[in-house]
Symmetry: C2
Subunit: 590 residues, 2 copies
Amino acid sequence: MRLYQWLSATMASSMVFVLPMRTRGSLSKCFPKFDNCFQRKLGINTAASRTDRLIKKDEVEPKNGRKTFYTVEEERIEQAQRSVLISCPAKTNEKKFLKYLSRHGDINKYFFYESYGMYAVVEFVHKESLTSLLNGTAIPCINHEATMPFKSRLLSLRNTGSVDQSAPQCQSQTTIPINDLIQRLSNENSIDHQITSLTEMYQLTEENVCLRYLVCSLLKDIAAAYFPECKIRPFGSSVNGFGKLGCDLDMFLDLDDISGRNVKKPKAGLSLEYQTKRAASERAATQSILSVIGECVDQFGPGCVGVQKILQARCPLVRFAHQPSGFQCDLTANNRVAMKSSELLYLYGELDHRVRCLVFSVRCWARAHSITSSIPGAWITNFSLTVMVLFFLQRRTVPILPTLDHLKDLAGPLDKCVIEGNDCTFVSDFTKIPLRDNTETLEQLLQEFFEFYGTFAFSRMSINIRKGREQSKSEVSPLNIQNPFDAALNVSKNVNGTQLERFVGLCRESAWMLQQREFNVPHSQTRAATRDRAPWGLAALLLPSVSQAAGVKVRKNRKREPASERIKSLLESLKNRDDKTTGNGTGGNS
Amino acid sequence: MRLYQWLSATMASSMVFVLPMRTRGSLSKCFPKFDNCFQRKLGINTAASRTDRLIKKDEVEPKNGRKTFYTVEEERIEQAQRSVLISCPAKTNEKKFLKYLSRHGDINKYFFYESYGMYAVVEFVHKESLTSLLNGTAIPCINHEATMPFKSRLLSLRNTGSVDQSAPQCQSQTTIPINDLIQRLSNENSIDHQITSLTEMYQLTEENVCLRYLVCSLLKDIAAAYFPECKIRPFGSSVNGFGKLGCDLDMFLDLDDISGRNVKKPKAGLSLEYQTKRAASERAATQSILSVIGECVDQFGPGCVGVQKILQARCPLVRFAHQPSGFQCDLTANNRVAMKSSELLYLYGELDHRVRCLVFSVRCWARAHSITSSIPGAWITNFSLTVMVLFFLQRRTVPILPTLDHLKDLAGPLDKCVIEGNDCTFVSDFTKIPLRDNTETLEQLLQEFFEFYGTFAFSRMSINIRKGREQSKSEVSPLNIQNPFDAALNVSKNVNGTQLERFVGLCRESAWMLQQREFNVPHSQTRAATRDRAPWGLAALLLPSVSQAAGVKVRKNRKREPASERIKSLLESLKNRDDKTTGNGTGGNS
């Protein structure tokens, strides 16, 4: 299944309403026309053709319907500029709300969600509608307090009339708890279904992506105050196709269109230049710029809390929580390689639907076993894990993914890209990439992934997706994953021996489990109270392993115990649990 | 002489060029038409009629040609928005420069001046010309350094062609040194001429006022980034008519048009409000706003150096030096009373030409004797001195100035103004103010001023320009000058006994001097080398008195010595000096 198919599937069951309104006041007439709605919904991608005109001809949507990274980005940015974020009372009458807003122009899309209160994202058809809306919006007047008279596209809806009793349906912007996930996966009928189901539940929804671009757009309004031509572009998991609901929002302040770097020498005679302040280095300039924007976000940015200026970091950043969206945000500048990495991951993810599925499953499994963590440390990062999955898919007998060197060979003249001396060129047009005919199932691939890394020669070899084959290690770090754009750098330099050992151990344990019939077919019995099956397949892999549950002290003692022994005791404990549940018929919540 | 007459007189001798250009490329054809130029020059005030349309009908120019404070302000702000500040190489060919700029549209006015290098202020006829100019302006590209890509209307002219040998004439933006002033005053033929001459040399020139409004306009561009509807308005000596060349530029960030204070309650039903950050108090909000703007000025503001955020002061402010203009700048917010005080002083200064002349003379005299200082302390301020002159002019047998209470009685409904509970209402329309027929000369008034304050009952009475008469003191400060807008406040609370005593002593000394024939008529002899006269009249009053020259220690010993004794020795020293000069014929620079 391709991404756009995924999105269609997700949207079909979502709370996104696409309004067929064309003229003001036509709301009630059009509401019943659901056929019409549905056509419009399917037409979202084609409706974006307006944006395409802004994009270089060579970058437009490839023939097979998949859009390049930058086409998607341009469309999303343009949509966000036509959108507004509105805090609403919990009891808001949806029909009245839409009628009130549509006085300013036709609405293209909208949805409601909850995050410390109810919010609505509303996307107008025309940008001018926003101007009209904001003209009719007031600065609040509060007794005994002063307000910062800073105007943004984050608004509050007041209802001074009769209180409405209805409440609109809200979109969830977070993943379900791990125990609920395990239960839902157990009810699937194959490991393949489990893997796609996990991916559907975890990956970013269409609405969540809209919200991410909207938050960037709101922040752009602040930065554009000083740098009118700047862009704020999300990067990392928000856009690389591997983001999980609730993941951080990494943003990149792009000032390239304003910097003097690419200025032509003026002709002889008089010419004018802007008088500007100087900084000792690019880094110092970045620090100053982030310092001012951070100060503004802190003092004026509505809903922005906990602002930290982390300017001495290798890559200086401003960190803050955006309450209305619930996103933890990091704003950086001059972070071009990270942007290119996001594009590469997006491309790999788009090439074959199994890529994202496998990455989501492996990441979820790693998180469940504390192989990864939300805080930095000596453990494996999600990025490293993703590269390991890509590498594994390049190493299949019939490779599922091409090497980065191959993608570079396919690149056109416009794809050429060198950042800080490193060649980051690779093809952006999907149609140019020939794919091999690999028919392995997701179940097979997951099983093989654990086998592959359970037996990988980490002590001697490094992982290199540019070449698509392991290479002799040139450094001493336990885990060596070469940076795709700078082979001399190891993206997993932080990982220590203990963490790598845990990873390998869990790979072996999981590989073994998937070979056992106890785990790799659905349990036939269901628990009486809930009609839920006991965990199996991928769900079983997410359960805490006995070795872990017993804690560090026990694990240390058991260090030399063979994995199979540990698995046996896990099996026993599961059996007992199932017996108890089905036996007394009341243990649904055990 | 009225202010506009002053300005015309100043401009006739100044470097302001008013171009008769109407179409592009017509520069050379029009240059010889000086008749045309002159008509345009006289037409400056009428050309501003475009601005008048923006102003409430009741505020337009009164019939007698004098403009209200706010009319002048609106016109100046609008002019500044059409202007640009350009750093030029010292050898800039004026004709080429104008030809280059006029490609973007017709130029209304321009002038050159020096301040750490040569600068030009250029005012276009249309604002759109600026957009065109800035579109063709580049961010500089500097090796080994990074620039802040922040665009403002402060530009640099580069000349990569042949080096020009000519240099345009520059306007001075500073006062002449005190010794040169003394010499020039001595060459006048009456004390009245001396006083008007000093005023002409010291008061702000047309160009300097333009430059001040332009600096405000540049700063407004920064503040408008967050608060599009804000204004930055100069106040104090830059606009009250009593500013001396080189005085500080006090600016007021006016956010009143955006604050939620005056918002009407919305009708029943749905309404939208901006979501804003809250501050504990107006003061806290002001501090936050100034903090962010200060940060931006510090990091990005070209030419802005030595930025200090003085946020804990009674009236929080951001202080910085603006190198291209040479101004020391203070930016405050929520400082409405200071604005009203400026308007009041402007009004008093406009009512009779003798007001400004007397204030300039007294201020210059006070500064020469260190009665006032550029740093804060226990001495009299320029504002206090000005109020003392106003009060003195209200107390003439035939009063030259009306009382503030009278100005309040004449106020129309639109003049009503209450700030923080204080009634600051007074008439703004000059035509409504009846003036008495006082014909005293400047010489008489200066003489009487020193007599008046040499014998004032400071120990018992306070100075009150609202009532126009002294009142019994209710507090113990040596000098009590009641705040015009809050009678309970003493604007000279800082002045200690010693400083008041020095002021009174110098008033007596000066009054006595002006009665002596030695001082009150021009010296008939001129110094051979320079054909300059020895100091007399106002010039003599500016010479250090013997008591001062001898220093603090001597002054302490001479505390009880009668003023006349000191004057006698001063006379002696002057005589000796004159004899020496005229005697040897070579002491022109003694």
